[in-house]
């Protein structure tokens, strides 16, 4: 007789069944030992489920499928583990931040307020500082990425790649001190300007823009460039009319990620833009508040009503998270809308 294609197989409910049974067993064990806690229960459940699944599957299905089930369980558990801090962080910030959120919080500054006021000045500052940083970084970073993928390859290209790698590793406070030193050199010590913060953030943002744009431009297939050259198109027009449009969705996503990465920076802004209570939307004149520094200073030096200050700090953190999430969402929408099928 021919060898059969069929072999033993576990019932469909086996995965959930085993996990549920393991949870019960683990709970019983912990209660018996008198050391019950949620964390221990979860860990023990996973361990018991892995052992039971593996032995059961090995007897019925053979070693290959048993290993497959074991690894699947391990990976799902690891995923859950990684999700815990993220979810708990969002939950915690939302729980503590919502009480401090109000129309007043988003529309009023803290000028002349004793233990009250809003964070509009910080919101404006965050948007202006980040916007100016993006205005500086995106053209520089994009052009550097174009150079690296379309022209570079020589010694300059390799040097550029090397220094981009080095820049990625710069601690953010160093970027802040660099911007401070640069402006202090021309405008004297003690200077605090919004644009200084933007310059500091650019130092952090440029390498991210270069790296992500470079990766995206690399996957534009070469046959599209050749098709364009074969029509007698000059190189720079090939880049602007064929390469960049093809990579558009990916480039936008990369830039949004870069913005999201720097929008919450605190340390470099602490030394460059200073702390202030009133709205200032001119990056070239005077101090400028921003959400991250606002949250920090509300928590460190609370006003007369301590709890109100803490609430405002959490609300500022929540606002920052919402801004980043919206940016990510917009990036995803743009990507879906404009992505081109690349073969």
């Amino acid at each position: 007789m021919n060898p059969t294609l069929e072999s033993g197989v576990l019932p469909d409910w086996s995965t959930y069944g085993v996990v549920a049974a393991s949870a019960v067993l683990a709970a019983a064990l912990l209660l018996a030992a008198g050391a019950f806690s949620v964390a221990l229960l979860l860990i023990l459940t996973v361990l018991v489920a892995m052992v039971v699944t593996y032995t059961w599957s090995r007897r019925v299905e053979g070693p290959r499928r048993a290993k497959d089930r074991l690894v699947t369980l391990a990976i799902v558990a690891a995923f859950g583990l990684a999700l815990i801090p993220l979810l708990s962080l969002i939950f915690e910030v939302a729980k503590r931040g919502i009480p401090g959120l109000s129309i007043e919080f988003l529309t009023e500054s803290a000028r002349g307020q004793i233990g009250g006021g809003g964070a509009a000045h910080a919101l404006v500052g965050t948007l202006v500082i980040t916007g100016v940083a993006a205005l500086i970084s995106i053209p520089v970073g994009l052009m550097a990425a174009i150079y690296l993928t379309e022209y570079g390859g020589g010694r300059l290209g390799r040097a550029l790649t090397f220094f981009v790698d080095v820049m990625t590793g710069i601690p953010s406070i160093v970027a802040g001190l660099f911007a401070y030193a640069l402006f202090a050199l021309f405008l004297g010590p003690g200077i605090r300007l919004g644009v200084m913060g933007s310059v500091a953030l650019s130092v952090l943002m440029i390498p991210i823009v270069i790296r992500t744009s470079e990766e995206v431009l690399k996957i534009v297939p070469n046959h599209l460039r050749e098709a364009s050259y074969a029509l007698g198109t000059p190189k720079w027009r090939t880049i602007t009319k064929v390469v960049l449009p093809t990579a558009f969705a990916g480039l936008i996503t990369g830039m949004m990620i870069a913005v999201a990465r720097i929008i919450g920076e605190t340390a470099p802004l602490l030394v460059t833009t200073g702390v202030v209570d009133s709205i200032n939307s001119n990056p070239f004149s005077g101090r400028m508040q921003n959400l991250a520094v606002y949250a920090y200073s509300e928590y460190r030096t609370p006003g007369v009503f301590k709890q109100a200050s803490y609430d405002r700090a959490w609300a500022a953190a929540l606002t920052l998270i919402v801004i980043v999430m919206v940016l990510n969402l917009v990036a995803r929408l743009i990507y879906r809308r404009y992505r081109t099928e690349i073969r």
Binding site: G153, H223, A227, S228, A230, G232, T233, R237, K241, E341
Partner: protein
């Protein structure tokens, strides 16, 4: 040799000069004799002692041949013998590969296309190319794909004029009837054969003199292949055509002249073994290697 950069009208005026040269050398028919009744005289591509390199690797050795105007020249030979590399040297695409090098002389109606003062961009305007796999621009509509050459080459073209060129090119590529109602749809939504005809329309929209085709049917089914072959037969009334193919039936069906490339062994450069009228190459070739290859006895 600045005339490569000249406008089309000037370039056509050049034809007169070349005719004299052609008749004195006497190696090929004068262009106007070769041009079909409804066509236009295209240009002659000649190579003399062309050697092609990738860095240290010698890919093609000493090729001297003529791609005659208003005829289809097929380049056949086994894989890796340098047919495609040679084809790419004819419109200066070869040099786009890092460390690729060209030695020898390639002339378009007597003008050296590798001259020091010659702009490769201008050469490629006169010598168009269709690639192995269809590669329409994914971000552009069918209309914009055909008009790409016009749009990409700076010069302002009026909308009505552009419409006319797009329609003429799509008709020329036998695609008009199939796509006329969805010109604004993306080109990537077409079938493989339609995409390849779209790429041919794109190539002929800029009115080149010579059309190079690098295995244009290798990704297509037999029906689409036949459509492209018919098209090639028609296009030769306007263009000089060189086509690389692995398919010997295709070479015998679609070409007037066949050039057989071969390499002695892997690592050695490919060479031109024999070139002649297609009929002769397929029935009574002069070289034993050619006979072995076309009869399928090739090792």
């Amino acid at each position: 040799m600045g005339a490569i950069g000249a406008t089309r009208a000037e370039a056509e005026a050049e034809v007169g000069k070349t005719e004299m040269k052609v008749t004195t050398t006497g190696t090929q028919p004068a262009p106007e004799a070769a041009a079909a009744a409804d066509g236009r005289p295209a240009k002659t591509l000649e190579t003399r002692g062309v050697n092609l390199f990738y860095g240290e690797f010698h890919a093609v050795e000493d090729v001297t041949l003529t791609v005659e105007p208003n005829k289809v020249t097929a380049l056949i030979g086994s894989s890796g013998c340098g047919k495609t590399t040679f084809l790419r040297s004819l419109n200066r695409m070869h040099e786009l590969t890092t460390s690729a090098r060209v030695e020898g002389e390639i002339t378009l109606d007597g003008q050296d296309i590798y001259g020091r003062a010659v702009d490769p961009v201008q050469v490629r305007r006169l010598v168009g190319m269709v690639f192995q796999s269809p590669n329409p621009f994914p971000t552009m509509s069918i209309y914009d794909n055909v008009a790409a050459g016009l749009n990409l080459n700076a010069g302002r073209v009026k909308k009505t004029e552009k419409d006319a060129i797009v329609e003429r090119s799509l008709r020329g590529a036998h695609l008009w009837e199939e796509v006329k109602d969805r010109l604004d749809k993306p080109g990537s939504g077409l079938s493989g054969g339609q995409q390849q005809r779209l790429c041919i329309a794109r190539a002929i929209a800029v009115e080149p003199e010579v059309l190079l085709m690098d295995e244009p049917c290798s990704a297509l089914d037999p029906v689409a292949t036949l459509a492209i072959e018919d098209l090639i037969g028609e296009l030769k009334s306007k263009f000089t055509i060189a086509i690389v193919t692995h398919n010997m039936q295709q070479a015998s069906r679609a070409s007037d002249i066949t050039a057989f490339f071969n390499l002695e062994q892997t690592g050695k450069p490919g060479r031109l073994i024999e070139i002649g009228p297609t009929e002769k190459i397929f029935t009574s070739p002069a070289q034993q290697a050619t006979e072995d290859y076309v009869s399928g006895r090739f090792g």
